[in-house]
């Protein structure tokens, strides 16, 4: 299944500025508000995206190119950001995410991927064989999943405040759709 790498890079490049517009200088109490036990706040979401930049996308892409299916990706730690984010401000996390993302896109471009590279296969610890194309498409769709989640987290305090309009507001009906929300 091919995908449009140019679109993927364009989405990946847009996410830091979009998060910045939504989140920078939010009062702490809003940034740390989640949807209940075992759910994430805006602060957690940005930390999670940072953790992905460090440990997931580019490291896995390089593993595919170097080792193919012979080496299994490290499992991704969905709570890996907790320790890394501790003591930081949301603004620090936004800056860090933007810097890491920019560096990773530079690395991605430097790989100079051709169509046959995108078809190369790696091994995911739970999903089995995956292609480099699928990995890179997932990178972009993962950003969008967390934007989807973030809009819901930010809307959460409005559940009652909107009164009878609630039924018209899809984001208030959303209960998440997956482990990654």
């Amino acid at each position: 299944m091919g995908h449009d790498l140019q679109r993927t890079v364009s989405i990946l490049a847009r996410t830091p500025a979009a998060l910045d517009a939504l989140l920078r200088d939010l009062p702490d109490e809003w940034a740390s508000r989640n949807e209940g036990e075992n759910t994430w706040s805006a602060f957690d979401v940005v930390g999670h995206l940072i953790h992905g930049e460090r440990t997931d996308w580019i490291p896995r892409a390089k593993m595919v190119l170097q080792f193919g299916e012979t080496r299994t990706f490290e499992p991704f730690d969905r709570w890996g950001q907790v320790r890394e984010s501790q003591g930081k401000s949301l603004e620090q996390l936004l800056d860090e995410f933007a810097r890491l993302r920019s560096g990773n896109l530079t690395e991605l471009r430097a790989l100079n991927l051709r169509q046959e590279d995108l078809e190369r296969r790696g091994r995911h610890p739970a999903l089995g064989v995956v292609t480099l194309s699928e990995l890179l498409a997932t990178w972009a769709a993962h950003d969008l999943t967390h934007l989807h989640q973030l809009s819901r987290v930010m809307a959460h305090p409005y559940r009652e405040a909107v009164g009878p309009w609630s039924r018209y507001l899809g984001v208030l009906q959303c209960a998440g759709h997956s482990a990654a929300s």
Copy 2:
């Protein structure tokens, strides 16, 4: 049901820049891509938000303050943007939305609303009696609903490209939750 008007204004002020970061200079074919028949593209969503700035939020707020429950709001036309957006570029719509939103927030601040104003009641053509507080909370939650929708519209082309990762990506499982998506 009270709500935090400062939070609402802060969200309303952020949306234009967030949409700009996500959408400006997208290729036309991406901006006009929707999720199938009778669904909206990114272009349609921005047009819809413009239509709301012109005909919904501030005009209704003024009606509540002026007429209370004695006059029913004009019904909102969910396809009202189609004619208004025709022939415009996505960049023109983004500029127009930012300009209208900024003007409306200036108007909102000039209303100098006190707690007792927020409790004033108006009449919605389908929902019946609503408060000014609920109307303003809905304005912000409506932005977030369309951000939620937009992340899904942008992810739509990735449904197959992500291969087996699909099950981890909530945004790809979302089928919308309401008429307003």
